[in-house]
Amino acid sequence: MSQAHDHAHGDDDHNPFLAHHFDTMGQQAGAAKLGMWLFLATEILMFSGLFLAYFITRMFYPEMVLEAHEHLSKIHGGVNTIVLLTSSYTMAMCVRSAQTSNTAGIKRWLLLTMGCGGIFMFVKYLEYSAKFEHGMLPGKYYSAHLHGYEIDGLPHIFFGVYFMMTGLHGFHVLIGLAVMTWIYIRANRGDFSASNYAAVENTGLYWHLVDLVWIFLFPLLYLVK
């Protein structure tokens, strides 16, 4: 019968990034990626609750949603869509740089991605400020009628859903920026190479999900017909 597990991991045995409980870097990276995909599944399910809330609101009050959405800024939303789509490209280039052991590339593309994330949050700030000023707030804080905006029906529900969805999404963008900062520090340290880039790739997967959620939020909230 075969002997206990072999030690023929080759160079992996010497890779300082191999944790003690894994046998090979391939096993370690595979585990990390599978874990990330599962995490993304939980994210989609969490957002799906809000999407369901959105569809039910729209089903109950179609005219109100149509009227209330006119007050969302298509310009701000559109700019942010372009910014996030661009950031997905820069993120993909960042992962590509990691795969080719190009540390300078990782850092450059990462900074561009973070820049896009920053622009997104700035535009979001402008957008939220306008909503606050016009009293278009969720639930019991809704006071747009006091600022001269008359929306028929129950617009406080629409703005509740709007702030919940874009707020949770914006929170994910902030988390993404924090994670990218950490990845930048590690890249600066020279942690990543063609044999160890699972962390960069997982950050990329997360960022693409954040982008993907916005791809659905933008038409559903801003482009209602």
């Binding site: 597990h5 409980h21 939980t42 529900i157």
Partner: protein, 551 residues
């Protein structure tokens, strides 16, 4: 399973042991920052048992208040808070993490032949997230209590003056711990199996934990967003669940049960896994229908997502939806029955050893079957209208949760006690404990089926005098049950002071956890084991093979 643990085999009776995981590192800090799955399993074990004790004492208070029809020592409001905390703590802090987080953490890597789970630091983080969640629950307990019931139904939960935000935040945080544990286990099963450990050679406990983990990962995020919406509803009043503001309270029930019905299977599936191990090892016979049991766990996980509407039969959903949910609920009975019949078929002509663990397995077969079968009248639309929100429902889910999961959990603790602690308990004491629990449990809850059928509604602190006799029987039963549980606690703690050490394989098990010393060394195995067969090929079956796996 002919397994080769190392170049030199481990003699289970060898007293020359190596430093085990309990003694590998010293001091409190070595426990607080440990990433060893076995230590984390023990820490979870202690934490969940602590909350089992607290929530159990609350239950005794409830039963004692119900000894007479009128108010004894609790006001209606106090009673509401006590039953709410009993339920919420039992569900979120005890039963959901009990088997998966405590026993799963300890056993999963050992059974797979791995050194640890896939993400050991994430595992430690899960434990701390769980700890933070428990602090929130304790804060809710001290800060005005909670009186919504563990289900947090709107619109009452958005109006109640009690600490709803604190408690829902606690459940929200506990959910993340559950998600991360489930995620960790799925990746561990996929990526960390020892060479030769194919899917069909995994112990059935691993299959059960795997199916549980899938539910944890897919259902819990929906609970997270639901609880977040409750918090937002209370803080901002967005009105999505509030009919006065144009929202829909039934929407909350859909959201809540979309998680919480699958969560019922998070609670019971790991119990099934334990029973599969107990029955086959202690009847010295290969499990009957290995694949059927393994895949029925997965089938239950899938169906569990399609039955939530049976909690809403009287909440105003359409008749057609009610019929569909009723039919799908009956469908759960099929994979569940496959398991029960396979266990009985395994016992048939087995060399049954009637030790404490087997007693618990037998107790489980009775109590779980009663719990499962009484689910059928509840899933029948017309009958549910009569039984809904009565003690019949209370008895039904206690038969599944306590008679099923808790009995399996205690049985599992006895089965693996030697492996975990390195000490053996007294068998006679163990059997006395099992008998007390079995009698106490059945006296408490069998009575409640009749109470419920006669119309006693749940969640009332006072009742009509004609129910008094049965309430008193039930209350006495709960005292017997509590005595049994304290008895178990006493002799298990006493066993820790035994001089003699547990052998590596006291029951002649074949799965990998029995192929390392008791308690295991820090990295589980000296060398990664190679697996060549089923975890249930007991040597009695193949007389040509000795027990210590041929080399």
């Amino acid at each position: 399973m002919s397994t080769q643990p190392a170049s030199t085999s481990i003699n289970p009776f060898d007293e020359n042991r190596e430093t085990d995981y309990l003694r590998a590192k010293k001091g409190l800090m070595s426990w607080l920052v440990t990433v060893d799955h076995k230590r984390l399993g023990v820490m979870y074990g202690l934490a969940v048992l602590f909350f089992f004790l607290i929530a159990g004492l609350l239950a005794i208070l409830l039963r004692t208040e119900l000894f007479t029809p009128d108010q004894d020592f609790m006001s209606a409001q106090t009673y509401n808070q006590v039953f709410t905390l009993h339920g919420a703590i039992m569900v979120f802090l005890f039963i959901i993490p009990s088997v998966p987080a405590a026993m799963g953490n300890f056993l999963l890597p050992l059974m797979l032949g791995a050194k640890d789970v896939a993400f050991p630091r994430l595992n430690l983080l899960s434990f701390y997230i769980y700890s933070v969640a428990s602090v929130f629950f304790i804060a809710a307990l001290l800060n005005g209590g909670l009186d919504t019931g563990w289900t947090f139904y709107t619109p009452y939960s958005t109006q109640s003056g009690t600490a709803v935000v604190t408690a829902t935040a606690g459940a929200f945080i506990a959910g993340f711990s559950s998600i991360l544990t489930g995620l960790n286990f799925i990746v561990t099963v996929h990526k960390m199996r020892a060479p030769g450990m194919t899917w069909n050679r995994m112990p059935l406990f691993v299959w059960a934990i795997y199916a549980t983990a899938v539910i944890q990962v897919l259902a819990t995020p929906v609970l997270a967003i639901t609880l977040l919406l409750i918090i937002i509803e209370r803080v901002l009043g967005i009105g999505i669940f509030d009919p006065a503001m144009g929202g829909d309270p039934v929407l909350f029930q859909h959201f809540f049960w979309f998680y919480s019905h699958p969560a019922v299977y998070i609670m019971i599936l790991p119990g099934f896994g334990i029973i599969s191990e107990l029955i086959t090892v202690h009847s010295r016979k290969h499990i009957f229908g290995y694949k059927a049991i393994a895949l029925s766990s997965v089938a239950i996980a899938v169906i569990s997502f399609l039955v939530w509407g049976h909690h809403l039969f009287v909440s105003g959903q359409s008749e057609l939806v009610g019929i569909l949910f009723s039919f799908l609920t009956f469908a759960v009975g099929v994979p569940t029955a496959i398991k029960v019949f396979s266990w009985i078929a395994t016992l048939y002509r087995g060399s049954i050893v009637y030790n404490t663990s087997m007693w618990y397995a037998m107790a489980f077969l009775w109590t779980f079957s009663v719990g499962g079968l009484t689910g059928l009248p509840l899933s029948t639309l017309a009958i549910d209208v009569h039984l809904h929100d009565t003690y019949f429902v209370v008895a039904h889910f206690h038969y599944v949760m306590v008679g099923g999961t808790v009995v399996a959990f205690i049985g599992g603790i006895h089965h693996w006690w030697g492996k975990i602690t390195g000490k053996m308990f007294n068998e006679t004491a163990g059997k006395i404990g099992c008998l007390l629990v079995f009698i106490g449990f059945n006296v408490t809850f069998m009575t409640q089926f009749f109470l419920g059928h006669q119309g006693m509604p749940r969640r009332y602190y006072a009742y009509l005098p004609e129910y008094q006799t049965m309430h008193q029987v039930s209350t006495v039963g709960s005292w017997i049950l509590a005595a049994g549980l304290f008895w178990i606690m006493i002799y298990l703690i006493a066993s820790l002071f035994n001089k003699s050490r547990a052998p590596a394989n006291p029951w002649g098990g074949v799965s990998l956890e029995w192929h390392t010393q008791s308690p295991p060394i820090e990295h589980n195995f000296h060398e990664t084991p190679h697996v060549h067969g089923s975890p249930y090929d007991f040597p009695e079956i193949d007389k040509s093979a000795g027990f210590h796996a041929p080399h």
